[in-house]
C-alpha cells in the first residue's frame, strides 16, 4: 500500500516539469544550430499510426538509429492518429495534463480540427533548413485539403488513391467509374469499400467523377455544390449497393479489413490511399502476389501527409530536428523504395544536387507499380476538409444507417 502511494506521489511529482522549453515559434527564429544543440541528447515522442509493420520498421529501424547517431535524439514512436489524436489533445488541454507527444503525423481533416481548436504550435515549418527542398510548386504538397499549411505542419510524403485488383481473378478490370458501375452490377457481392478514411476518399473520388470533375468542388466549401454532388453520388450508390458485398448492409470498418476480404477472395477489389500498397502489402504477404494497383481514368485523389507539433509538446526543438531529418533527400529516398514503404517524396527533384537527382530517378520502380506519368495524369487534388467531414457524416446516416 505504501509502495503504491509512493509510486503515485512520484508520478504526480514528475508530472509537473519545472522549466518549460521555448515553443516552436520562438525556436524557429533562432539559428538552426542552436535548435540542434538544444535538441541534442533529448527524447522525442512521435504520435503516429502504428498499424503497418513496414512503416514501423522504417521509423524504428531506419530513422531512429540515424537520429540517435547524428543528433543524439532518442525517437520513440507511439500510437495516436486521426480523431483519436484530436480527442486526446483536447482532453489533455482540458485537464491541464502534461503533453505526451512532441510530433504528430497528420493531414486533412485532422489538421483542420487541430487548427480549429488551436492545438498545434506554429508557425515553424517554413523556417527549418529542409523546407527549401520541398516541392513548393506542387499544389498537392503545399495545400492540405485546400488549407494553407501556414507553417503549422511540415510535409512528409505524398500518395495517390488507387483501387487494387487481382490479375488472376479480374484480368480485364474496369478503367472508368462507368465501367466500374457496370462491373459491380454484373458481379454482385464482389465489391465494397470501408467505413474509414480510405472508403470516404473513394466516395469523394466518385463524387468528383459523377459531379462533373473536381473543379466543381474547389475554392472552399460550398453547401450547394456539396449537396448536389452528394445527391448524385448517393443516387449512384443506392442503385449499386444491392450488388455490393453483403448487399451493402455491412461494411468493413477499415481498409485493413477490406484487404483481408480481398485476400481471402470474398471480394475482388480492395483500395488504398497509397498507390504502392499493392506492392508493399504483397511483399508482406497480406495481399496476393498477383495484386495490382489501378488508377481510374476519371482521376483519383492525390494527397500529402505531414507532421506537426502539438501545443503541449515537451520537446519542440527535438521535434523540429526530426521533421527536418524526415525531409532530407536520404530519408525521402529510403521511404520511397517499394521494398521499404513506397511513400512518394515531397521534394522538388530539380532543386536537389545532381547526385541525389540521379538516385531518385534511378529508384527501383517495381514493375508492378503504376507508372509515374499515369499517376500524374490522373491525379486530382483534395478539396476543403468540410467535404470529407460532411460526406462521412451523411454516408453514415443516409447509407450505412449506423451513425
Amino acid at each position: 500500500m505504501a509502495a503504491l502511494l509512493g509510486v503515485l506521489a512520484l508520478t504526480v511529482a514528475c508530472g509537473t516539469d519545472g522549466a518549460r522549453s521555448p515553443d516552436a515559434v520562438t525556436l524557429a527564429e533562432l539559428p538552426w544550430d542552436s535548435v540542434v544543440e538544444r535538441a541534442r541528447g533529448s527524447d522525442v515522442v512521435w504520435r503516429m499510426w502504428r498499424g503497418d509493420p513496414a512503416i514501423n520498421a522504417y521509423v524504428d529501424d531506419w530513422v531512429a538509429p540515424r537520429l540517435e547517431e547524428r543528433y543524439g535524439i532518442r525517437l520513440r514512436a507511439t500510437q495516436g492518429q486521426g480523431a483519436e489524436l484530436v480527442n486526446a489533445l483536447v482532453v489533455e488541454r482540458e485537464a491541464g495534463a502534461r503533453g505526451v507527444g512532441d510530433l504528430v503525423w497528420i493531414n486533412g481533416e485532422t489538421f483542420h480540427n487541430l487548427m480549429q481548436e488551436s492545438l498545434l504550435q506554429g508557425p515553424w515549418a517554413h523556417r527549418i533548413p529542409a523546407a527549401e527542398l520541398v516541392d513548393s510548386a506542387s499544389a498537392i504538397v503545399m495545400r492540405d485539403f485546400e488549407q494553407d499549411l501556414a507553417g503549422f505542419e511540415s510535409p512528409w510524403g505524398r500518395v495517390q488513391f488507387s483501387l487494387i485488383y487481382d490479375t488472376l481473378r479480374t484480368p480485364e478490370p474496369p478503367r472508368t467509374v462507368e465501367e466500374l458501375g457496370r462491373w459491380i452490377d454484373r458481379n454482385p457481392g464482389r465489391f465494397t469499400h470501408d467505413q474509414s478514411f480510405t472508403g470516404i476518399t473513394f466516395l469523394k473520388g466518385l463524387m468528383y467523377a459523377l459531379g462533373g470533375g473536381v473543379d466543381e468542388f474547389r475554392g472552399g466549401f460550398d453547401q450547394e455544390a456539396y449537396l448536389s454532388g452528394r445527391d448524385t453520388l448517393f443516387g449512384w450508390l443506392r442503385a449499386r449497393t444491392p450488388h455490393f458485398w453483403r448487399e451493402g448492409r455491412v461494411y468493413p470498418s477499415g481498409v485493413a479489413d477490406l484487404h483481408r476480404l480481398f485476400a481471402n477472395g470474398e471480394v475482388d477489389f480492395s483500395m488504398s490511399n497509397n498507390h504502392n500498397e499493392a506492392v508493399t502489402k504483397a511483399r508482406q504477404g497480406v495481399l496476393p502476389a498477383s495484386a495490382r494497383a489501378l488508377v481510374l481514368r476519371d482521376g483519383t485523389i492525390a494527397n500529402a501527409h505531414y507532421v506537426g507539433i502539438p501545443f503541449n509538446a515537451p520537446n519542440p526543438a527535438g521535434a523540429m530536428v526530426v521533421a527536418n531529418f524526415l525531409l532530407s533527400p536520404e530519408a525521402q529516398l529510403e521511404k520511397d523504395r517499394p521494398d521499404v514503404w513506397g511513400d512518394g517524396s515531397v521534394l522538388a527533384i530539380e532543386r536537389l544536387p545532381a547526385e541525389w537527382r540521379a538516385r531518385f530517378e534511378a529508384t527501383e520502380r517495381d514493375p508492378r507499380a503504376v507508372p509515374m506519368d499515369t499517376l500524374t495524369r490522373y491525379a486530382r487534388p483534395e478539396v476543403a476538409p468540410e467535404y470529407h467531414e460532411r460526406l462521412q457524416a451523411d454516408w453514415r446516416t443516409l447509407i450505412r444507417a449506423g451513425g
Binding site: 483519436e84 483536447v90 482532453v91 482540458e94 481548436e117 448492409r249 470498418s253 467531414e389 451513425g403
Partner: protein
C-alpha cells in the same frame, strides 16, 4: 453483533469501492449536460441528451447488445447445466469433462473474439473445411456468421467464453446443494425423472441466476468482442459509444457521454436485479448471503 466502528469501516469500504463509479457517472452527467468536456457551453442543457436518446440508431444499438447478452447468457447457462449434469461423477471421465469445459476460463474476451473471427468468418476455418469437403465453392457461399445483423458469431464467441464460469458455478451448486436434496428426494421414493425436474433443475437454475445476471451485465458492456465481430448496422452500443467519443467533430463527442450514462444505467439496473435475486435465493436457502 456489529460494533459501531465495524459498521463504519464497512460503510467506508463500500464508499471506496463505489466512488470511482460515482465520480465517473458524475462527470459523464456534467458533460452530457454540456457543463464539462470539449465543446462545453457552460450552460446546462438537455438538448444533446434528448437528441441522443431519441435517435433510433442509439436504441437499435442498445437493443441489439441486450439481445446478444441475453442470447449468450441463456445459451451458456444451458450448456453449463448440461455439462454439470452430464459430468457430475467422481470418475476420470467426469473430471476430464469438467476440466475441458472450464479450460477457456482465463482466456480474455478479446482472444475469444479473434478466435471466433478466424473460425466462423466467411473465409474462416469452418468455411475452409466445408470448401475442401465440397460443401461450398467459395467464401460467398458460406452463411454470414460474423458482421451479421443477428450477431450469431458474437453470441457464439461470447458463449464459448462464458460457459466455463457458469459451469464452475453449476458444478458447485450441484455439489453443495443438489446432492443432499436429491438423496432426500430419492429416499422419499421419487423416480429419477421426478428427482431431476423437481429437485435438480430448480436448484440449478436458482443457484445459477446471480452468476447469469453477472454474465449478462458483463457482455452488455463489453467493447472488445463487439468491435471485432459486430456488424455496422445496428451498431452495438459499446462500439457506437467509442465511435462518438473519438469523433473529430466535437459535437459527436458530447453524445458519447450520454451513451456512457446509458451503459451505466443498464449496469445499475443489472446490479439491482442481481442483489434482488441473491436476496430471494438467500431467503429460500435459509440465508447464505
Amino acid at each position: 453483533m456489529t460494533r459501531p466502528s465495524e459498521k463504519s469501516f464497512g460503510i467506508a469500504a463500500a464508499l471506496v469501492l463505489a466512488a470511482p463509479v460515482v465520480v465517473g457517472t458524475g462527470y459523464a452527467t456534467a458533460a452530457a449536460l454540456g457543463l464539462a468536456g470539449a465543446g462545453a457551453t457552460g450552460q446546462a442543457s438537455l438538448d444533446r441528451a434528448v437528441a441522443v436518446l431519441t435517435d433510433p440508431v442509439v436504441w437499435g444499438g442498445t437493443l441489439w447488445i441486450l439481445w446478444v447478452a441475453a442470447a449468450s447468457t441463456v445459451l451458456s447457462a444451458a450448456i453449463a447445466i448440461a455439462i454439470a449434469v452430464t459430468f457430475r461423477g467422481a470418475g476420470r471421465l467426469d473430471a476430464l469433462g469438467r476440466t475441458l469445459a472450464v479450460l477457456p476460463l482465463p482466456v480474455p474476451h478479446l482472444v475469444a473474439a479473434v478466435g471466433g473471427l478466424l473460425v466462423l468468418g466467411q473465409s474462416g476455418l469452418i468455411a475452409r473445411v466445408a470448401f475442401h469437403l465440397g460443401f461450398i465453392d467459395g467464401p460467398a457461399a458460406m452463411p454470414a456468421l460474423v458482421y451479421d445483423p443477428a450477431g450469431i458469431g458474437l453470441v457464439l464467441a461470447l458463449t464459448w467464453k462464458e460457459v466455463p464460469f457458469l459451469t464452475l458455478v453449476a458444478v458447485s451448486v450441484l455439489a453443495t446443494r443438489g446432492d443432499a436434496l436429491e438423496r432426500t428426494a430419492r429416499g422419499l421414493g421419487a423416480g429419477r425423472r421426478d428427482v431431476f425436474w423437481r429437485v435438480t433443475w430448480p436448484v440449478l437454475w436458482r443457484g445459477l441466476m446471480p452468476a447469469a445476471v453477472a454474465v449478462f451485465t458483463f457482455v452488455a458492456g463489453s467493447y472488445e468482442a463487439a468491435v471485432i465481430l459486430a456488424p455496422s448496422d445496428p451498431l452495438a452500443l459499446p462500439v457506437l459509444t467509442w465511435e462518438r467519443f473519438v469523433d473529430a467533430g466535437l459535437g459527436q463527442r458530447a453524445d458519447a457521454y450520454v451513451l456512457a450514462l446509458l451503459g451505466f444505467g443498464i449496469a445499475l439496473a443489472a446490479v439491482a436485479v442481481h442483489e434482488w435475486v441473491r436476496a430471494r435465493i438467500g431467503l429460500l436457502d435459509g440465508g447464505s448471503a
